[in-house]
Symmetry: C2
Subunit: 245 residues, 2 copies
Amino acid sequence: MTTPDNAAEVSAEPTGVAAQDWATASVDPHYRAAVVDLLGALAYGELAAFERLAEDAKLAPTLADKAELAKMASAEFHHFEQIRDRLTGIGVGPTEAMEPFVAAYDSFHKQTAPSDWLEGLVKAYVGDSIASDFYREVAARLDVDTRALVLAVLDDTGHASFAVEKVRAAIDADPRVGGRLALWARRLMGEALSQSQRVVAERDALSTMLVGGVADGFDLAEVGRMFSRITEAHTKRMAALGLAA
Amino acid sequence: MTTPDNAAEVSAEPTGVAAQDWATASVDPHYRAAVVDLLGALAYGELAAFERLAEDAKLAPTLADKAELAKMASAEFHHFEQIRDRLTGIGVGPTEAMEPFVAAYDSFHKQTAPSDWLEGLVKAYVGDSIASDFYREVAARLDVDTRALVLAVLDDTGHASFAVEKVRAAIDADPRVGGRLALWARRLMGEALSQSQRVVAERDALSTMLVGGVADGFDLAEVGRMFSRITEAHTKRMAALGLAA
């Protein structure tokens, strides 16, 4: 049936790069370089997330919790594999593509090593949610093939519901835990923003795409609005978790 | 075609428990308890191996090496899942089944934390090979269903060829490395034997199965021969790697 909703969808149909496939869109060397950067950043992010979750599994209070974290880590690794295979498929060395983003991710994880199980869970939840929000925003501006890949690897690995349930139970049992974790979540967001700025400052192709030089409909004001939306979504998630963000 | 070889195979055909399926064999409560122990030990071994490999991935000199270790870790996790699902399927809580073996594995890994990338590779290779030799020996004496599961999760996760190649190259580049790693491999074997003895001493059902009380064809002398075969295979592998064991 044709409804007003459908009409609205039609008017919002992708145009420009977002309506093209990779073969067409990647003819533009700037677009191609931006996507390679994006996939490199995403790939190393997944590999670093694998390591972080495997490390946090050690803090698990029970074997079942440990297995749950190991499962998430393994899911992140399979996401990494998909992106690595795409990079190889378009003739790019995965190591070369990831290299520029290693320092930012490693610094982030070094600055935010959780000191206990709950901090680890909040980090997995916050980190995943922010990354997912960011890549979903960017995905809308990508060519059809790259968009499909990015959305596929952002598929929920089960972090959210597991972390939310455990953190809520801990706050219920001892409300003071909430204050400590709220501070922790703020620190995570601050560190994530500071590392993102570093990446944007260093990677021309990627930032040019973000500020409208290449992909459609993205100008500096829009990037500002995107960061506002991501921060707002973070605040709402923290409130839902019982934490003042 | 019928050949003398075939004739030999026929004469070695499984009898007793080894010819039965799980439903039949598990009617004997001692056999059932022994298999639960075995699967619990195997499950926690895979989970611990996941953690160890994820940890060792941090020592990797390149991103490609890191990804290779992460892949092995992920494969171990999927093996863990298969065994955990089997335990659940036969009405046993995975945590309860694994619990008795946590201390032995954790002590082993704590006593043998690799100090660099090469020690980590040698450990992955030696540990996996010994565990694989042991479980294959035991598998031959298990019921058809349990045997199939055990053999499936022992499937090569790629440790061997990857580790062998990297360690050989390192010894070629600097022969002194061989002396240090040979000492390391001896320490690993010693620690593995000492933890195995601890498990055998503490777990009645498992050791009774090993010494012939339950499964077929396994008496104390045979267990001795099994340990000899495993040690011998280890010595040969170390020699092939360029290490005097």
